[in-house]
């Protein structure tokens, strides 16, 4: 999910929220005349009924509704899309050719390597962009029996490997660890011995 999409999310929710606040306060003020007092005392929907009963109204409503529905569907799917290209250009590129690396592959390999040298289970790697800097983010769960020093040494080693692969400092490595999965209570393994 990109920062632009997150900004649009916030804007959309803010606009809808402010609209609802305005509508709600209008309904309250209609009853108590706290701010304005020039409201009509009765709602007349005769003109709206004339429109709703025309032959073209259902078609216009359907087209507008489908467009809104497609917008909503696109909005939902936009959150599932991966961030744009995960490739980064190496400093060795020149006029004779470009050298680009798929950083997502590097992240996957680095995560697998971290899983072998560190007390980390379920390692996975992803890529995030922060301006001109690409972040290789490795995630996993700490082993319950992990030795803290072994963990930090393995993280430092993995970070050094990633840094060595990209000496121009445009690709950084981060390790984010969560708690081990809890064992479900009440589930026991039964062994029958004959």
């Amino acid at each position: 999910m990109t920062r632009t999409l997150l900004g649009l999310d916030r804007l959309l929710v803010l606009v809808v929220g402010l609209a609802l606040v305005a509508l709600g306060l209008l309904a309250v003020d209609w009853q108590y005349n706290l701010v304005l007092s020039s409201y009509d005392q009765t709602v007349r929907t005769g003109a709206a009924e004339d429109v709703v009963t025309t032959a073209w109204w259902p078609w216009v409503l359907a087209v507008a509704g489908v467009l809104l529905g497609l917008l909503g569907l696109w909005w939902l799917l936009a959150h599932l899309r991966r961030e744009a290209s995960s490739t980064t250009r190496l400093s060795a590129s020149d006029e004779t050719g470009r050298l680009e690396v798929d950083v997502r592959s590097v992240a996957t390999a680095a995560a697998a390597h971290l899983g072998t040298i560190a007390p980390v289970v379920d390692p996975s790697g992803t890529v995030r962009s922060y301006g001109a800097t690409t972040l290789v983010e490795l995630r996993g769960r700490v082993d319950p029996a992990a030795d803290v020093e072994a963990l930090t040494e393995a993280v430092a080693t993995t970070s050094q490997h990633v840094a060595a692969a990209f000496p121009d400092d445009r690709v950084e490595c981060r390790v984010v660890l969560d708690a081990p999965q809890r064992r479900r209570r009440g589930r026991t393994t039964r062994v029958r011995v004959r």
């Binding site: 803290v148 963990l151 660890l177």
Partner: protein, 165 residues
Amino acid sequence: MSVSTPPKARPAAVLGAALIAVVLIAVAAVAVRELVVSQRWASGSPWSLDAVRALDGLTPSVGVAAVGVVIALLGLVLVWVAIKPAARTHLQAHADGDLWLSAPAVAALARGVADRAPGVISADATRVSRRRITVEVVTSGDPTAVAERVDSALQSQSRASPGPP
């Protein structure tokens, strides 16, 4: 340049926007239903006409004001959701690499360190927060001496933990 943005949870605004998107899809379904019913492709009465007729003759009342209060409160919730910053999910460790641990992960490490300390029968992290983790241990020996050993073990291993154990 070092990435200084800490790991964060998905902002609540994403969920709010997703709900609004679902509402838009529901609006599309209702609009298509209106067309289907109006063209007599299916039986039923058009909801838009019913809604317009239901609103005709509406006058201000306490009930309308109450509905307005509910709508305004819902709007305030959405405004709060829109501006609420994303929560930080992990704590940065004092390590050579860029290492971040969730509070439960730190608790699991602390529990493991305490469990391996001499004299400890079992250990469990009972209270876990971003600022403090409480590890309770069961011991067969002198509780004070074991507590000191556990504390010593935690201190020696706390170089990678984000805060004091």
